[in-house]
Amino acid sequence: MSAIEAAAPTRSAASVQRHETLHVLARSKTFLAGATIVGFWVLCAIFQARFFQDPNALSVHQLASPSGSHWFGTDRNGRDTFARVIAGARDILEIAPAATLLGTVLGTALGLVMGYFRGIVDDVLGRLVDAVLSLPVVIVALLAIVSVGPSKQTTILVVGFVFTPLIARTVRSAVLSERELEYVSAAQLRNERAPYILFAEILPNVLQPVIVEFTVRLGYAVFTVATLSFLGFGIPPPSPDWGVQVADHYGFLSGGFAVWPVLFPSLAIASLVIGVSLLADGIAQGFDG
């Protein structure tokens, strides 16, 4: 290893490393499979309006089975399920990443502060984190909706708020080992201010776990947003959101004559969660390997 390092550098190490990580990702089947699934839904979300039917267009056939004109059948209002499943990707692909990003930014900042200062700061913030972690998502969502009303923004805030302590804990443990390294002492020995040490010295070194945590959380976010919508705490109807679609039609499952409006949105949720998880696994492997 050291012998390899001994060679005079020809290319910037950063570019080499980035190149290698991309190389590993491009060869990882897990990552490629995840990227394909997620990429499919992203394309659906972007081009739905251009290439597909209006998801709110009504037809005379209600709760129809799949056919040539309605590939996935129709729902209780006679809307095309295929068009709604495609269109449903849009909301969730806005809300889930936004919420995860919010949670990651807040959680990273909190984790850096907790890990770096330790002592009383860590103790107090740590208890708060535990307190937030002990709240069920549904209760937080319920409180938020009661106070500000259901909307995309509310959902983003709720999920972001719930994710913050989880990400903070991961970042904190990474910072704990990082702060013992001597480059941090060296920074202290030139009287750097804490924000500089946190964000300019330590943060770049804990970005890998942050990125892995972001992708892992993204999968959970898709799942959580769908659950909240299903329970009526998320995106309000008539949005073609998958969770809302399932919620609207699960009553028709008894008797078995209207499986389609529940099955296809459910599969869509499952595929997106799996796709994001594969992506997360691929990225984590890329960093390790």
Binding site: M1, S2, A3, I4, E5, A6, A7, A8, P9, S12, A13, A14, V16, Q17, L181, E182, Y183, S185, A186, Q188, L189, R190, N191, E192, E201, P204, N205
Partner: protein
């Protein structure tokens, strides 16, 4: 025991060599490309022989050891050649047979004993397990384990067996590992840097133990180390490895005293030896870098860095030439190897100005540091009073746990010393923590850390690392900063092209130069060097020591130089302070400390260092490990281990740190003249 094993393992020919490696080629597959690390390596270890492999890191020493037991990492491949242990071809073995051979005929001891032991299993269980694998039953295995621990000189095996690895000191852990390695009574014992992480005193004990056990068990030993002194002490024969090729081989004594390969010559010259000091001249260095693994080396592997190299060296690989008495060298010019021109001038360009002695830069008064740990007080430092003069190097030595680093941290303000401690910089009081010190004071005291890997932010470029220090410490901006940056990188002899890279693409030596440049950014008055070369190879160490000596001469900076390597300390230090359990034992000019009379602890430290020219000088053994600072011994803290203890007075009364001769402080009840008489017989050789 031995008979039982040879039955299960087949009948090896009686005269077989313990290990025979023939024309071995090993490569690591990295991103689809085979990178050759061993190049037709051949060597033989006769039964009962101790064979040493030396070379710098990256030469393939550890790969050779792993290949010898066919235990290469997953991407390692044997491309050709043969390995046989006790006459049986290892490369032809499969599954169970290979496993059996490894279990019964070979044992390995690695560098870090803490990692070789399972932290959650009692050590007795772990040792007994080796006997169980060999077929012993529960109680019997435990009894054998206990007996084995007694053989590795563990005083109270019964209680040690019930402990967990973290409850034992490093030296003790390494003894347990050695006990486990010898439990199967192996034909071959492979020791891969077994004492590298240990203190000199502990190292000496472990080496003595290995030497004793080797006689008792008549095992052959493959000893791998970068430390030439250790190899010379432990081995009958030695092979010098460079870029995966054995460049020189022969009797340890002949190779080290009469080397016939330029690499060996260079390596030996890198070591500060024979009392060499910075004002006598600079250490020699080996120019250039080790070739990258897998590099295409058509000629001599060392040609690129050799002053003799000509066209023949670059195109035609030299064969091993016998230079007499089984001593071989792979060099076309082996007969003139010893006249290798120096890489650095041995004479200083100008006569170094003697230290402008007198004015103390830093004054530490009764500095103590007490940590509270699990309800009890741990006295890491107890009243250290010390002055560091302008432009001088104060060497700080002592075993680990003696408080060297704590003292440095107190000076720097990373750790606040106890109430009542005083620190003064240029006669101005120094606040306890960095944050409370003035900008001037902060830049005046800087540090070069031991491990450049963790001391440099791996996400920042070299330019940013040094530039930020210039901004914060020297208050420079824009063009002025850029100009100073260029000056600084030139003064640490760092090529400008390295400014744009991150530390990971620099070698250890280059990283340490960056760290030195950072420390010098604010024109410091005192630089703490905390083991700055212990993570580096000897040839790199020499360049860093030369650099530190040059910077000191040019800038009149003072150093507090902490190191466990006494040769290095001696080279760079003007005065030396010896620390034991947080107390100063001896302070004097470097030459005074190294020459008798000295404190019994200093005497033991000096005698523990294995040297190349050492021969068999009497070694003063220290009993046991350094006592816990939470419960220091009464009286003189050293009395529990002191080989020259007077009697009750040592146990009861702490001797003062008294000036026994002008400039020579000593904390001992024994009068200086008595010490002189006692130690005149056992003058330690120069480290």
């Amino acid at each position: 025991m031995r008979e039982a094993i040879s039955e299960t393992a087949g009948e090896p020919p009686a005269s077989a060599a313990a290990l025979e490696v023939g024309e071995l080629d090993v490569a690591y597959r990295v991103r689809g490309v085979n990178r050759q690390v061993l190049r037709s390596l051949s060597f033989t270890i006769a039964a009962g022989e101790s064979y040493g492999l030396v070379g710098e890191s990256g030469c393939g020493k550890s790969t050779a050891a792993l290949a010898a037991v066919r235990y290469l990492p997953r991407n390692g491949r044997v491309l050709g050649g043969s390995v046989s242990i006790a006459g049986r071809d290892l490369l032809a073995m499969h599954g169970e047979e290979l496993r059996r051979t490894r279990a019964s005929d070979v044992s390995m001891v690695y560098q870090d004993p803490g990692r070789a032991l399972n932290p959650s299993i009692q050590v007795g269980r772990q040792v007994a397990e080796v006997y169980e694998i060999a077929g012993a039953k529960g109680g019997e295995a435990r009894a054998q384990a206990e007996q084995m621990l007694r053989k590795v000189q563990i005083a109270d095996p019964g209680s040690v067996m019930r402990r967990y690895p973290h409850q034992l000191s490093g030296g003790m852990q390494q003894r347990i590992v050695i006990a486990m390695a010898l439990a199967s009574n192996p034909a071959l014992l492979i020791l891969d840097e077994p004492t590298t992480g240990l203190d000199a005193t502990v190292e000496a004990e472990v080496l003595d133990l290995v030497a004793t056990l080797r006689q008792e068990f008549s095992s052959s030993v493959l000893f791998i180390s970068h430390n030439l002194g250790v190899i010379s002490k432990m081995c009958d024969r030695v092979g010098v490895l460079y870029a995966g090729k054995l460049v020189e081989e022969g009797d340890a004594e002949t190779v080290f005293n009469d080397p016939h390969h330029p690499y060996t010559v260079g390596l030996l010259r890198c070591l500060p030896r024979g009392g060499q000091r910075k004002d006598h001249g600079r250490l020699d260095t080996i120019p250039g870098f080790l070739p990258v693994p897998g590099a295409d080396l058509p000629g001599c592997v060392f040609a690129e860095r050799c002053a003799f190299a000509d066209d023949r060296c670059r195109t035609e690989p030299p064969p091993p030439v016998d230079v007499g008495g089984g001593h071989t060298s792979r060099c076309w010019y082996h007969e003139k190897a010893q006249s290798l021109p120096r890489d650095t001038p041995s004479e200083l360009p100008e006569v170094a100005s003697p230290v402008t002695a007198g004015r103390p830069v830093l004054r530490a008064g009764a500095v103590s540091k007490t940590y509270r740990q699990a309800g009890s007080d741990v006295h890491a430092l107890a009243g250290v009073t010390l002055e560091i003069l302008a432009g001088e190097t104060l060497g700080l030595v002592g075993e680990s746990g003696s408080g060297k680093t704590t003292f440095a941290r107190c000076l720097l303000g990373i750790t606040a010393p106890d109430e009542g401690s005083t620190l003064e910089l240029d006669d101005q009081p120094l606040a306890a923590t960095t944050g409370k010190r003035s900008g001037e004071q902060v830049r005046a005291i800087q540090i070069v850390f031991q491990n450049p890997d963790s001391a440099l932010n791996r996400r920042h470029t070299v330019r940013r690392i040094i530039g930020r220090a210039l901004t914060k410490l020297a208050g420079l901006k824009g063009d002025a900063r850029e100009q100073r940056l260029q000056e600084l990188t030139r003064s640490v002899k760092l090529a400008e092209r390295f400014l744009s890279v991150r530390p990971s693409s620099l070698s250890g030596g280059l990283k340490q130069r960056v760290a030195i440049a950072r420390a010098f950014a604010g024109n410091p008055k005192l630089v703490v060097c905390d083991e700055p070369t212990s993570a580096l190879d000897v040839s790199v160490q020499a360049t860093i020591l030369n650099l530190l000596a040059d910077l000191q001469r040019d800038q009149q900076v003072s150093y507090l130089f902490i190191s466990h390597d006494l040769g290095v300390v001696r080279y760079l230090s003007d005065r030396i302070a010896v620390l034991y359990l947080g107390r100063l034992m001896e302070v004097a000019a470097a030459e005074v400390v190294f020459a008798a009379p000295h404190h019994p602890y200093t005497e033991a430290l000096l005698s523990a260092v294995p040297t190349i020219e050492g021969g068999d000088r009497p070694r003063i053994k220290l009993e046991g490990d350094i006592p816990s600072a939470a419960d220091p011994p009464s009286g003189c803290v050293f009395h529990t281990r002191c080989p020259r203890r007077l009697g009750a007075i040592c146990d009861e009364q702490e001797p003062p740190l008294a000036e026994v001769e002008p400039g020579h402080l000593l904390r001992c009840h024994i009068p200086i003249d008595d010490l002189r008489t006692m130690q005149s017989g056992s003058q330690p050789a120069p480290a």
